[in-house]
């Protein structure tokens, strides 16, 4: 048995010289499992709980309008937005089916087209928007959190607290949007449950799977959610409204400026990215690469989260306030360094192909 003999020989050599310190590749299956059970599933479940409460409160407001009822509806809206923000960075899976992502969160609405659609539906008293069943087939811009935000906080929303017949349509529209949001949130939760098709692919992808061919592809997907989540806050959520000066600032590009949830939304996005890093297995990958660096990444993220959480002015005032601007610009630098450090280490540690265009130029 020459083969067996050579195996023994190799084994003997290994025993003599010791096993080279080859680092095992990251455990991709464990990363997917951790991300799903510690971050994704609880994140969507929390969101769906909040949308159910929201649906109930908006319905209650329509049944019995009052200042308190409007207030309660707004509070549940704020909670739903915060919880959505934590899962907003995930652009894959069930939320990617049936245009659910855009239906939940049509943003940015650059030219105010979504806003105009909502206003037109209000002005025309378009009956098809007050039933959740028919709303689901309408423009995505009429269906989600930004539309509901306008209905609850936009021009004329205060009247929702009075029992006037004129305002009944607006409230019914809001109620159907809330129901629609709740249905989508539950459909996403359902799509991630144990044994669901996507869950199976996500946890144990096979070579014939159209989405992910190998466990490493899932790690890449999560990695992209992490890095693009930070990019999203740094560039689109903070950078674009701030502009380069108070004169070039565009506060109305900010997400959720009407409800004053612009900063909670960013905080939620970063909490989502942080959770994915800390509880989804990436911190371990970084620690393996360079022990201690995972903590400095978390330190950066935590600091940004803390400062953003403490902003209590509306974005329109913040962009005019030079001291605030300086503070936020500094946060953008911190986010950039966290993103760059984390992404290069995760990419190396998890063996992800990265920098397809950047690395080998042409």
């Amino acid at each position: 048995m020459p083969v067996l003999r050579s195996v023994w020989l190799v084994l003997a050599l290994v025993l003599i010289w010791g096993v080279p310190p080859a680092r095992a590749e990251a455990d991709h299956g464990a990363i997917a499992e951790a991300a799903l059970t510690n971050v994704i599933r609880p994140g969507y479940a929390a969101f769906a709980d909040a949308t159910t409460a929201l649906d109930g409160r908006v319905q209650a407001l329509c049944d019995e309008p009052s200042a308190q009822a409007l207030d309660a509806a707004k509070k549940t809206f704020a909670e739903a937005v915060k919880r959505w923000s934590r899962v907003e960075i995930f652009r894959f899976g069930p939320v990617n089916r049936k245009r659910r992502y855009d239906r939940l969160f049509y943003w940015p609405d650059r030219k105010g087209i979504g806003l105009r659609q909502v206003q037109r539906a209000l002005a025309d008293k378009d009956e098809s928007v007050i039933l959740a069943d028919t709303l689901a087939d309408k423009s995505v811009a009429l269906q989600g959190l930004p539309a509901l935000e306008y209905l609850l906080y936009g021009d004329g929303a205060d009247a929702l607290s009075h029992a006037e017949p004129e305002i009944g349509f607006r409230c019914s529209f809001a109620a159907s949007v809330a129901t629609n949001i709740d249905r989508i949130a539950h459909a996403v939760t359902e799509g991630w449950r144990e044994g669901a098709d996507f869950t199976k692919t996500f946890l144990s992808p096979g070579p014939d799977d159209p989405l992910y061919h190998a466990p490493k592809d899932v790690t890449l997907e999560l990695f992209k959610a992490f890095t693009s989540g930070i990019e999203l806050v740094r560039d689109q959520k903070l950078g674009k409204p701030l502009g380069t000066s108070p004169e070039t600032a565009r506060p109305k590009l900010a997400a959720f400026w009407r409800s004053g949830l612009t900063f909670p939304n960013m905080v939620g996005n970063l909490e989502g990215a942080r959770a994915l890093f800390a509880k989804g297995g990436f911190a371990e990958v970084v620690a393996e690469e360079s022990p201690g660096v995972e903590n400095s990444i978390l330190f950066d993220l935590d600091r940004v989260i803390k400062v953003l959480s403490a902003v209590d002015q509306p974005i329109a005032e913040v962009v005019e306030d030079q001291a605030q601007r300086n503070k936020l610009e500094a946060l953008r630098v911190a986010l950039k360094s966290a993103r760059e450090t984390a992404s290069s280490m995760i990419a190396r540690g998890a063996g992800l192909s990265f920098g397809f265009n950047a690395l080998d130029g042409d």
Partner: protein, 365 residues
């Protein structure tokens, strides 16, 4: 008014609503089709025609990494090119006919870019005559199976991107200036003496019409990619091969008969570009140009008439750019898999895909 296709299509989400819209109206808002080269997660290279609603409309597997794609006027087919130093090209019909493969001559290789004559009959490709260290423009007959019928002088070393001016006869070539030889793969052999140039040549006679070199201290600024924007303003993007601590301007503007002007971005952005522009594209109206910086993960936007920097948006490993049907709006593609619509104001909406999108993309009009 420009309607936002994203909203319009979204409003057609329900089939009942879709049926209510006349076909002719819906056609005007059909999702733009694009074409680009890419790699999947298994390392398989392909080029595809796709849109953002339905994904792939037709894909062709490539033997190796591709680079740019050229659309044949008339819209009957698109051609994907091998990335340097590759030798293959493939013309893919819009209908179901099989693709037509072609190769560079044995002593040439492609640089990855090509352009058709306005009548769609001839294809011009940048190629390397590497044994003589000079760039050439291969001429192929698209009506005859892409058989090579001639060769023009590229008037420089390392011709890369090329385009036609609006007269349909003047070819503008970005000569990167870097000498490479397939025997030493992608090594750059002349960085100390390199002399990039922007060259205009007559398509029909092959004559040199105009040649521009950058200032002496910018001789290591390789002119690589270009786009012809409004009023035949050529906007070019560069890659710097000098000292890392330098941050030279990377975007230049030129009109025939004038001197090229290179324009700096604000200093923080300039550093973030990492001295590398990967792709340059003009928007539908030609008034705004996007230039990608994949090493910096940034897309920059430029006002062509004012020759002014407008701003950026972030996109990790973002490189491929194509116009959409709307002005100031671009398709942005990324090696990380993102397909995004970016506006010149820096706003961005992205979606995830399963591919590492390669350096370039085109709008299939």
């Amino acid at each position: 008014m420009q309607l936002d296709r994203r909203v319009f299509l979204a409003s057609l989400a329900g089939t009942a609503a879709a049926l209510a819209v006349p076909k002719s109206v819906a056609a005007a808002f059909k999702a733009e089709r694009f074409a680009a080269a890419r790699m999947d997660d298994r390392g398989i290279y392909s080029a595809a025609l796709f849109d953002l609603e339905r994904g792939d409309l037709r894909a062709v597997e490539l033997p190796a990494r591709g680079h740019d794609v050229a659309l044949r006027p008339g819209g009957s087919e698109w051609v994907a090119f091998a990335r340097r130093p590759g030798r293959f090209g493939v013309a893919v019909p819009m209908n179901k006919r099989p693709p037509i493969w072609f190769e560079s001559k044995p002593d040439r290789h492609f640089f990855g870019h090509g352009v058709f004559s306005p009548d769609g009959r001839l294809l011009y490709t940048t190629e390397n005559d590497y044994d003589h260290g000079r760039g050439v423009i291969g001429v192929r007959d698209a009506t005859g199976g892409y058989k090579q019928i001639g060769e023009l002088d590229g008037y420089g070393v390392g011709p890369h991107d090329l385009a036609l001016l609006s007269d349909g006869r003047t070819l503008v070539i970005a000569n990167g200036g870097i000498l490479t030889h397939p025997d030493s793969y992608r090594d750059e052999l002349n960085l100390n003496t390199m002399q990039p140039s922007l060259v205009y040549a007559d398509l029909e006679t092959g004559d040199l019409l105009e040649e521009h070199k950058l200032a002496r201290d910018l001789h290591q600024l390789s002119i690589r990619h270009l786009a012809v924007a409004q009023n035949d303003t050529v906007v070019f993007g560069c890659q710097y091969h000098g000292a890392d601590e330098d941050t030279p301007p990377l975007i230049g503007f030129h009109r025939r008969g004038e001197q090229p002007v290179v324009v700096q971005t604000p200093s923080t952005t300039q550093t973030a570009l990492h001295n590398y522009i990967g792709s340059v594209t003009a928007d539908a109206a030609g008034g705004i140009v996007a230039a990608s910086a994949p090493r910096g993960g940034l897309i920059t936007y430029w006002d062509v008439a004012a020759r002014r920097f407008l701003g950026t948006c972030e996109l990790g490993d973002g490189c491929g750019l194509a116009p959409t049907h709307h002005s100031a709006s671009f398709l942005l593609t990324s090696g990380e898999g993102w397909l995004a619509t970016g506006e010149a104001d820096g706003t961005l909406s992205r979606q995830s895909s399963r591919y590492h999108w390669d350096n370039h993309a085109i709008l299939v009009r």
